[in-house]
């Protein structure tokens, strides 16, 4: 395994950015600056970070309602993501979507989808268009273990495999669909195995280890880009925080959460990089300060943001109104 110092710093910075961004978001939620649903990704940062690094600007991303991390790492500025969480017009979806619906067309960030499983068919279509139009793009589709029970999961895997489409399916298996453990939801809990039944090459990856995820992602993206069809990664991960801000977490024990925290993405990363002998070359304090500054700027930007005028309520219902 090779990991350049530059890449190591990048991974650390990105994972820390997600962590601190979301900690701040949780705080802002209690201050009622952010309303609605807020689903935190804390604990799962390694997945988005490791996968996104394997992509190029020509690739597309389809995400879920737990997508702050994906948006940030794909390159939507923290300012625009935070403004979106505030519901301000300067947000990446004009404040219309909020936490669950982040979009950025220029970055080919096709959005956060809040109907579990609903993004998968879109990824199939985005990939089909790339293939038909002779582009080399790969569409990465993120979803959780809960989506596996939805019909759209099976329909989409079948279509992607049947038509050999350039989709990389990334299942973020954090063991719980809201409060229901995978073992109460699936007769077969090995999700990669289900993907294989559609003749899709599928691998289980340690979802807490950004380096392992990145390696798997690079191989998978290369395979998909070469035109061999879809691939599937099941990233075994864990959500440290509640499902949303309204969750008393009655379905799992504190001990279980603490056990997972011991192998959290930041902890694991430090251990791995220490083994490689380059941790001492990473100025963790400087990165922490840099991230802190980014978050401060994001909050200031969101605070200063403006509310979309009510007169714009029906704007963009249809495209004709885009130009007017």
């Amino acid at each position: 395994m090779k990991l350049s110092l530059e890449k190591a710093k990048k991974f650390y910075r990105q994972m820390l950015l997600i962590r601190r961004f979301e900690e701040k978001s949780a705080q802002l939620y209690t201050e009622q600056k952010i309303r609605g649903f807020l689903h935190l990704y804390i604990g799962e940062e390694a997945v988005a970070t490791g996968i996104m690094d394997a992509l190029t600007p020509q690739d597309g991303v389809v995400a879920t309602y737990r997508e702050h991390g994906h948006a940030l790492v794909r390159g939507i500025p923290a300012t625009k993501v935070m403004a979106e969480l505030y519901g301000k017009m300067e947000g990446c979806s004009r404040g219309r979507g909020g936490s669950m619906h982040l979009f950025d067309k220029k970055l080919r960030f096709y959005g956060g989808y809040a109907i579990v499983g609903g993004g998968l068919p879109l990824a199939v279509g985005i990939a089909l268009a790339d293939k038909r139009m002779g582009r080399k793009g790969v569409t990465v589709c993120f979803f959780g273990d809960g989506a596996v029970a939805e019909g759209e999961f099976h329909e989409s895997l079948n279509l992607a495999a049947l038509w050999q489409l350039p989709v990389l399916f990334v299942c973020e298996n954090n063991l719980y669909g809201m409060g229901t453990h995978l073992k109460y939801a699936e007769s077969e809990t090995n999700i990669a195995k289900k993907a294989k039944s559609y003749r899709i090459e599928a691998h289980q990856v340690d979802g807490m280890d950004v380096i392992k995820i990145n390696e798997a992602a690079r191989k998978a993206v290369e395979y998909v880009r070469s035109g061999k069809g879809p691939q599937f990664l099941e990233c075994l991960t864990y959500r440290f925080r509640a499902h949303s801000m309204f969750d008393a977490e009655l379905y799992r024990t504190k001990e279980e959460v603490e056990e997972w925290k011991k192998k959290g993405p930041l902890v694991t990363f430090k251990k791995r990089v220490e083994e490689l002998g380059i941790w001492s070359e990473i100025d963790a304090d400087a990165i922490e300060k840099e991230v802190e500054k980014t978050i401060e700027e994001a909050v200031a930007f969101a605070e200063k943001g403006t509310w979309e005028p009510v007169s714009d309520l029906t704007k963009y219902l249809y495209s004709q109104e885009v130009s007017s």
């Binding site: 067309k105 879109l122 279509g125 038909r132 495209s319 885009v322």
Partner: protein
């Protein structure tokens, strides 16, 4: 120069798809049995041989999957036509149509439009019983962000495919299954009447019958019968259920002062109820009589012919309602 030709509704739709595919490489047709089978209503017969399986795409039975696929392809630069075999099956794709296709442009702050065309068969009358015979187009018209077209004439069967493909947003076309064999005139040199315009099919002074899809012809038949009894009914083809053409509707009300709406949907919460509400809002004082409507009885469509016909609008029911309205005012 006029290029009017006699053809069928089925062939008019097929020709429009064929011409669009010839003209624009981004257009493709996908759905259950559209290719090797030739289309469940034979609309796409012969197109697979012409365009190949990458553009005439046979899909497995997964309405949500292939409709969502169409949305994704539309977001990424293509112009898909998704064929759903019948409106009852489209319920399996409702998540994609409602939560994604119709919401995406607004929800993304104007970034992602969805230039998707969905076609499906609708309506009763072929004794196909309770899971193949409903008329849910009024339901779809409830949803902001999509457009809902109901071609009745051969000309519209053709033109609406082109109008829908030229539209940057999702458009659903409801083709009444009984219309596919209808014959009529198609003139491809004509400029299509735009989306959102209703059409006065028959002039009259005593009342207006508003109808769409196959019920346009039932209304015209009823108007002939009424004319023999001295009642001159105007017949308006709504053409588009979303957007509704308030202007044409209100203009006709101001002319005839009596309203009868024919709607193959169930009465409660129907598109006919919406039209009545709009007339109430915009032309209440023009009315000389309470508004009437002929809708489908609120039952699942039964199999035997006599019960099926008893459930849906017929020319006789339209005539009876019209006469009752005239007597009361």
């Amino acid at each position: 120069m006029s290029e009017a030709k006699e053809t069928t509704y089925r062939k008019a739709v097929g020709k429009a798809i064929d011409d669009a595919m010839k003209k624009d490489e981004r257009v493709f047709l996908a759905g259950e049995d559209v290719g090797r089978y030739g289309g469940s209503y034979a609309v796409s017969m012969g197109l697979l041989e012409k365009y190949g399986p990458e553009r005439i795409v046979d899909t497995p039975l997964c309405e949500s999957g292939f409709t969502g696929m169409g949305i994704g392809a539309a977001m990424n630069g293509m112009r898909p036509i998704i064929e759903i075999m019948t409106v009852n099956f489209s319920l399996l794709a409702l998540d994609q149509i409602v939560n994604n296709a119709s919401h995406l442009l607004h929800m993304s702050g104007g970034q992602f439009n969805v230039p998707l065309v969905i076609r499906m068969a609708t309506g009763a009358g072929k004794q196909l019983a309770a899971q193949h015979s409903h008329s849910l187009e009024g339901w779809y018209a409830h949803i902001p962000g999509i457009k809902v077209l109901t071609p009745a004439t051969v000309q519209d069967a053709h033109d609406m495919v082109h109008l829908a493909l030229a539209d940057p947003d999702p458009v659903i076309i409801f083709e009444n299954a009984l219309l596919y064999n209808n014959k009529g005139t198609l003139d491809t040199s004509l400029e299509p009447l735009p989306i959102g315009k209703a059409n006065v099919e028959r002039e009259g002074k005593d009342m207006t019958i508003f109808a769409y899809g196959i019920n346009l012809f039932k209304a015209l038949e009823a108007a002939e019968t009424l004319a023999k009894e001295g009642i001159e009914a105007e017949v308006v083809d709504l053409r588009s259920l979303r957007p509704l053409d308030d202007e044409t509707i209100v203009a006709s009300v101001k002319k005839t002062h009596r309203v009868l709406i024919v709607d193959e949907g169930w009465r409660s919460g129907s598109i006919s109820a919406e039209i009545m509400a709009r007339i109430n809002e915009q032309a209440f004082f023009e009315l000389d009589a309470p508004m009437y409507r002929v809708c489908t009885e609120e039952v699942p469509i039964p199999y035997p012919r006599h019960l099926e016909q008893a459930a849906i609008p017929t020319p006789d029911k339209i005539v009876a309602a019209a006469k009752k309205m005239m007597e009361e005012s």
